[in-house]
């Protein structure tokens, strides 16, 4: 169970059970939808970007609750980027991706996802929310899917 314990750390199980910022934001000025067509999971991300700062962020997983990894990742992501600049959020995304592709651990709580590296089939789950955030910050109208981004 040791690598499963690494994957499903208490922080992840907690954020899965009690996701933070699990809300729709009516005043959001940036939105994005992320799809993982392999498992049917979907995330809707709402961002309130004021100037260059993410002043509020929320997400919902409309058709199904999302797996523990994708939901906890979305939850921890929203906590991590709230109050940060868009550029800082993009940097965090890069560090997060680097971690999952074998690099050093991402800063702060995001490091709890380092265990996902040992489960290649679950990397897309961990990345889904971040790709949605990237799309929202780019103001991209197209939903992102885990099958269109090569580095998922």
């Amino acid at each position: 169970m040791s690598d499963l314990g690494e994957l499903y750390q208490q922080v992840i199980l907690d954020h899965n059970r009690n996701p933070r910022n699990f809300k729709r934001i009516e005043s959001a000025n940036r939105k994005a939808e992320g799809n993982n067509p392999l498992c049917g999971d979907r995330i809707q991300l709402y961002v309130l970007l004021e100037g260059d700062t993410i002043t509020d962020i929320g997400f919902q997983m409309p058709q199904g609750s999302g797996c523990a990894i994708s939901k906890a990742s979305a939850s921890l992501m929203t906590d991590a980027v709230k109050g940060k600049t868009a550029a800082d959020a993009e940097t965090m995304f890069q560090l997060f991706r680097d971690m999952l592709s074998g690099g050093t651990n991402a800063p702060g709580k995001l490091a709890v996802f380092s265990g996902v590296r040992a489960f290649p089939s679950r990397i897309k789950c961990a990345n889904l929310a971040w790709h949605a955030l990237h799309a929202a910050l780019q103001n991209s109208a197209e939903p992102v899917t885990t099958e269109s981004a090569r580095d998922f």
Partner: protein, 415 residues
């Protein structure tokens, strides 16, 4: 029950360890493992008989053609086809259904017509019809399912009132395991004037199939779910229908004469087999059928139904587990959810114990919407599975519950 202690050593992959444990392969509805005899048949074909078929004037080409055509005869006998000319080799069920949609469908479906499918169909028996209907300005009518996961016969009857051109349904549901009353459905559809297309992907590996008794018009099957290689499969059809249909793919092999500006077509089934066929796949399929027939399809069906019954019984004892599908008339497919644990997490945890199951929508998104879930976990059985596999599954599911501290309330998703 089948003697799995004698069957398992025939499958090289089952002898290897998965995460240091006995491989417990319970994803047979996705694809089956291959016995040594099938692997050997392919190796033997390439080692001793390989040549292009239906054209060589030399002995080797004759041998290759004989091997290919012997496989056609085997498929015809296996499903009791109307004639061996009514067996068209394809890449599998998906291509078989696309062939019918593109050829029979394009010729016969007109603006305003209706094509009937069911809410338990696999995407491969939905999307080709959607494409056809969008092209023709025709309508798709999806028949609802009952609470316990059967085709709703009263809704089926209402759908037939539109006098559909085509009625498509699965013999066995890949997501629920339901064994549908194929002969009854086909008879009702014929009375309404439709042709029937049966998705046989999940029935051919597991049941004694007799297309003449079902009396459908088209029957599609995949080899890879019944011990044969990926890329093997067939469309089995009434020869008169195939005769009247235009070709699907143009190319070599499917023609009689080619003029500068037009061509005439070869006889069936070759009219639908343009290009060099996958002879290796056909040979492998023939070997797979020989293996299955030696075990006996009735015994296989009984074996899997018993495994499914035991699995449902034991999973149902775990608080928070919900099993989907009917209680009877079901094949060896057991879809389930466990409290609020997402099926993907369940599959990951089971995989660590060497237990391979499928998690997701199983290419049946319309069905998932009706069940009110985004995904299910699915255990599906075949000839090499036994009670030890069920033990491993149940132990691993309980472990997942311990890890997640499962809440007994099932996942509930608004429609």
């Amino acid at each position: 029950m089948l003697d799995t202690a004698r069957i398992r050593p025939d499958f090289p992959i089952l002898l290897q360890k998965e995460n240091g444990r006995r491989l417990v392969y319970l994803d047979n509805a996705a694809t089956s493992q291959k016995p040594r005899k099938v692997i050997d048949a392919i190796v033997h074909y390439y080692s001793f008989h390989n040549a292009n078929v239906h054209r060589g004037a030399y002995a080797l080409a004759v041998e290759a053609t004989e091997a290919y055509e012997a496989a056609r005869t085997a498929v015809a006998r296996f499903v009791n086809a109307w004639a061996r000319e009514g067996v068209v080799f394809t890449r599998g069920t998906t291509e078989s259904i696309n062939l019918v949609a593109a050829s029979w469908g394009r010729t016969n479906v007109k603006r305003g017509d209706t094509v009937v499918v069911t809410a338990m169909d696999h995407h491969s028996n939905i999307v080709p019809w959607q494409i056809l209907c969008q092209e023709k300005g025709a309508t798709i009518r999806m028949v609802e399912i009952t609470e316990d996961g059967r085709i709703d016969l009263s809704d089926f009857g209402r759908a037939l009132e539109a006098k559909p051109k085509i009625v498509a349904f699965p013999y066995v549901s890949n997501s629920l395991g339901t064994v549908n009353p194929a002969a009854q459905l086909s008879k009702l559809a014929h009375a309404a004037g439709a042709v029937t297309v049966v998705d046989g992907a999940q029935s051919s590996p597991h049941l004694r199939v007799d297309v003449q008794t079902i009396d459908c018009d088209f029957y599609a099957l995949s080899g890879h779910k019944m011990l044969a290689p990926m890329g093997s499969g067939a469309l089995v059809a009434k020869p008169a229908l195939l005769d009247a249909m235009p070709p699907y793919h143009g190319g070599g092999e499917m023609i009689e004469r080619v003029w500068d500006d037009r061509s005439t077509w070869n006889k069936i089934p070759h009219k639908f087999e343009g290009g060099t066929p996958n002879v290796e796949a056909a040979v492998g399929l023939g070997a797979a059928i020989a293996y299955l027939e030696q075990l006996g399809m009735e015994k296989i069906a009984a074996h899997e139904q018993e495994l499914a019954r035991l699995t449902i019984e034991r999973l149902s004892q775990i608080e928070g587990v919900t099993v989907y599908g009917p209680r009877d008339h079901r094949a060896g497919v057991v879809p389930f959810t466990y409290g609020d644990i997402h099926p993907h997490d369940l599959a990951t945890i089971l995989d660590r114990d060497g237990v391979c199951i499928r998690a997701g929508h199983h290419c049946t998104q319309p069905l998932m919407r009706r069940l009110g879930v985004a995904a299910t976990a699915r255990a599906s059985f075949y000839i090499y599975n036994d009670v030890d596999d069920i033990d491993a599954l149940v132990i691993a599911v309980r472990k997942a519950g311990d890890l997640f501290g499962v809440s007994p309330s099932p996942i509930s998703i608004p429609q």
